[in-house]
């Protein structure tokens, strides 16, 4: 039980690093979702279940969906010429 908390901290650091180092935004969406999931498990292990629930809803579901919507808008809308 005492070893799981440092392990989860290390996982959080590794997944945050992965979010930065994945340069393609379409692949970065998956890294962001995994980072949110790891942070939610870490917060639950830190005795903060309400924060873990909020992070699970926001960081794992809502924010990657926002990124997908932004990627879709960028891909489908051509930049307007001289407006």
């Amino acid at each position: 039980m005492t070893a799981i908390l440092p392990l989860l901290f290390l996982f959080a650091a590794i997944s945050g690093t992965a979010v930065v180092l994945v340069r393609d935004p379409a692949r970065q969406v998956f890294a962001i979702a995994v980072n949110g999931l790891v942070l939610a498990i870490l917060f639950d292990a830190l005795q903060a279940p309400d924060v873990a629930l909020s992070e699970l809803a926001v960081g794992t579901a809502a924010v990657p969906l926002l990124f997908l919507v932004a990627l879709m808008a960028v891909k489908t809308q051509p930049p307007e010429e001289d407006s």
């Binding site: 979010v19 180092l21 935004p25 924060v51 909020s54 926001v58 924010v63 407006s83």
Partner: protein
Amino acid sequence: MSVLPYAVAAWLFGIGLYGIATSRNFIHLVGCLGVCQSATYVLLLGLGYRWGSIAPIFYDHPPGTPAVDPVMQALVLTDIVVGATLTALLLVLTIQAYKRGGSLDPEKLRPMRAVGQSGRDRGSNRVGDGERKAS
């Protein structure tokens, strides 16, 4: 254990700043800003944690049981909601910058001008961008 949350928070903040500084895509940059924000979550929860304590919910524990700090958890909850809002706002600004400037690269972002004031100047800038991209 007492040093590890601060070290992880510092590492996440530093790697997020590195990603922001070296990013060539605005959407990737917003994701790196999210990593910087997750450093603040880890820092605040690491400040409030105590070993061998329960979650601050006293439904099935007698009052007075050692619990972790609920104030930090409230702060982190607010931080998460503000972070989601900030991400949405920055993504909308990214889409608008792409529609105006035609690129997601921060290096290619030109200063905004009033519409119709200097259309010839904008045209020459766009040609210059094309030359720089070709070379």
